[in-house]
């Protein structure tokens, strides 16, 4: 799987007509300067050799060097990835935290105004362009009302906390710097809300459908007949079963969110791997894009693996025989 991904990233960047060495050398470089760079970055060797080098490098954690930032891609990714991780995780938590109750509410109060309103949210969430939603939120909440900052991760006047985990929120808490934490939170509000929208829509949809299905089951009817309260039925009996497909959804959506973060980070100047990828793509800098693609693919695989684990914990039927 990983090998396949490496093949794809490598192919994309090397079949391209552009000449990265010439781009890196600048518009008025002499042919000999271009040639020096070509040799320096190993771009003059045959493709299979370059691929072999790339593979060996990746296994040692060497993802090449960015022609734009003149840093190793691994160092750049290590700097930017924690920011993306915090954004995506926050957005996913928000999407689940809002989406599951909304889905349940609209199933329990089916065809009432609650359901209709939720449906508007869930249909719009998929159709609305995230970058446009982000801009409009910026326009309204940051520029007109001034409630939240426009973009970035921290205010200009805020010094970042001492790096321990490189996760800004965690570091601020560890250092006990509440003001920094608050500032980081204020900066995170708009991008998180913007990014969570499509996932929120999908989670609401799946949860509603699954809840409707579950509420029709015999054991629910039975519980109801025995006089179990409606709240207990929903919270105790139905929720757990309805969560199973939601969980599968989360794994899939996590990957899509990593795609969506590219646009959202661009809107909000969020210094994550999405912004890094865009800046690299605009300047035909291949190695960073390959690195970002790889990191996102890895994360997606990891997320799905974790979801599979959680699955077998929630649903005994899919547990391998013997462990139940």
């Amino acid at each position: 799987m990983l090998f396949g991904l490496l093949c794809i990233t490598f192919t994309i960047s090397h079949v391209a007509p552009g000449d990265p060495a010439r781009l890196a050398a600048g518009p008025d470089a002499t042919p000999s300067m271009v040639e020096t760079i070509r040799v320096q970055y190993g771009l003059d060797r045959p493709l299979p050799v370059q691929f072999g080098q790339y593979l060996r490098g990746v296994l040692r954690g060497d993802l090449g060097r960015s022609l734009r930032t003149r840093e190793t891609v691994a160092a750049d990714l290590a700097r930017y990835f924690p920011n993306t991780f915090e954004l995506v995780t926050g957005a996913m938590l928000l999407a689940v935290g809002l989406g599951v109750p909304l889905g349940i509410l609209s199933a329990v109060y089916r065809d009432t105004w609650v359901d209709q309103l939720t449906r508007v949210v869930s249909v719009s969430g998929i159709a609305i362009p995230a970058f446009w939603l982000g801009l409009m939120l910026q326009l309204l909440l940051a520029l007109e009302l001034g409630i939240v900052p426009l973009g970035g991760r921290l205010g200009l006047m805020t010094a970042p906390p001492p790096p321990v985990t490189h996760l800004l929120f965690v570091d601020a808490l560890l250092a006990g710097q509440w003001r920094v934490f608050g500032d980081a939170l204020a900066h995170a509000v708009l991008p998180t809300v913007t990014l969570c929208f499509p996932a929120l829509a999908a989670i609401v949809r799946v949860n509603r459908a699954e809840m409707l299905e579950t509420l029709k089951q015999d054991y629910i009817v039975n519980a109801r007949a025995q006089g179990v309260s409606e709240l207990r039925i929903v919270a105790r009996y139905a929720l757990k079963n309805a969560m199973i497909p939601t969980l599968a959804m989360i794994g899939l959506r996590y990957g899509w969110m990593l795609g969506g973060t590219v646009l959202v980070e661009t809107v909000f100047d969020w210094p994550g791997i999405g912004l890094y990828a865009v800046a690299s793509a605009v300047s035909s800098d291949f190695q960073p894009i390959m690195g970002v693609t790889l990191v996102i693919g890895l994360n997606f695989m990891l997320a799905n693996f974790l979801v599979d684990l959680a699955y077998s914990w929630l649903d005994p039927r899919v547990r391998p025989a013997g462990t139940a």
Partner: protein, 304 residues
């Protein structure tokens, strides 16, 4: 004798046509029961009309071709310019309406490319199976493990920015969904009695695929294609917004939003209206897809 056969088959043909018409009327009734489906159909029709008639109905058709009226720049929405004007004084309403043609064409090309690559691969993977099928599904899984937009970004980054490259990139990453869909459908159909019967009487492979399997895949493909029109338009607008898609003065919605971004918050109309049009188009195709699914594929409804 031969006349009787002919009239018999003509009668059968007429009866079949009557049945088909009845079926169609039934579908239409089911479809029309849902207000959301009708809204979706309405929106899609409006945008199709806009794409077809755009150049004939807009007030300033020359504004999409790089006309400059500096005396009119950055006017707010009003009677002369419904959606205001941009920094060189071109009418935003004109450009947004003409953008419908651009975006619908982009969405269509991406969707058709994706289906053209994905459907044959899915049929081969499902019907032939074996090692070939295994390889196809593996490659599909790898492509599915990276979000389409990120892969497209990588491809456009390699090919260089521009609308054609953006379309090519998105088309190249759009097929895996179709492989999954068609493969599972083909696998399910392969075990059906009518396909086994066809095989038993010696029908060739190609004929089975084209006569028995493909027609049964048409409804799910149609539903997916309708949804994909929406998401492909969204993805292409995203690339335009980043600056890797259509380049100005080409009237593409994503690129317009990206340009208008520099004029926020004072000249808000510059970004606001193109985005609204993207939203309504995508909404239309999604609702239409939902409605089509309820009609054509009722068993799979509510599944995502």
């Amino acid at each position: 004798m031969s006349g009787a056969v002919a009239s018999g088959s003509a009668g059968a043909w007429l009866a079949e046509r009557g049945a088909a018409a009845r079926e169609l009327r039934f579908y239409a009734r089911v479809f029309a029961r849902s207000a959301a489906s009708l809204l979706g159909l309405g929106l899609v029709l409006v945008f199709l009309l806009m794409a077809a008639l755009g150049p004939f109905v807009v007030p300033y058709p020359e504004d999409a071709r790089g006309a400059v009226h500096l005396d009119q720049k950055l006017r707010p929405p009003g009677a002369r310019h419904w959606f205001g004007t941009d920094e060189v004084g071109t009418d935003i309403y004109t450009r947004v309406v003409l953008g419908a043609r651009v975006s619908l064409r982009i969405g269509l090309v991406i969707t058709v490319l994706g289906a053209a690559i994905g459907v044959p691969l899915g049929i081969v993977a499902g019907y032939v199976g074996g090692a070939v099928g295994e390889i196809i599904m593996r490659v599909t899984d790898i492509f599915l493990s990276v979000p389409a937009l990120v892969l497209a970004l990588a491809i456009v980054g390699a090919l260089g920015p521009g609308i054609v490259n953006a379309i090519v990139a998105l088309g190249l990453v759009w097929w895996p969904g179709y492989v999954r869909l068609v493969q599972s459908k083909t696998l399910a159909l392969k075990g059906q009695v009518f396909v086994e019967a066809a095989r038993a009487v010696g029908t060739g492979r190609l004929r089975i695929v084209f006569v028995h399997i493909l027609p049964n895949c048409v409804s799910p493909i149609t539903v997916k294609a309708s949804m994909d029109m929406g998401s492909a338009i969204l993805a292409a607008a995203g690339l335009g917004f980043i600056g890797l898609g259509a380049q100005p003065p080409y009237p593409e919605w994503g690129a317009m939003i990206s340009h208008g971004r520099n004029y926020l918050p004072t000249w808000w109309w510059y970004s606001a209206f193109p985005g609204l049009f993207i939203y309504l188009t995508v909404l239309g195709f999604n609702l239409l897809g939902d409605g089509l699914r309820d009609v054509l594929d009722p068993r799979s409804r509510e599944q995502g």
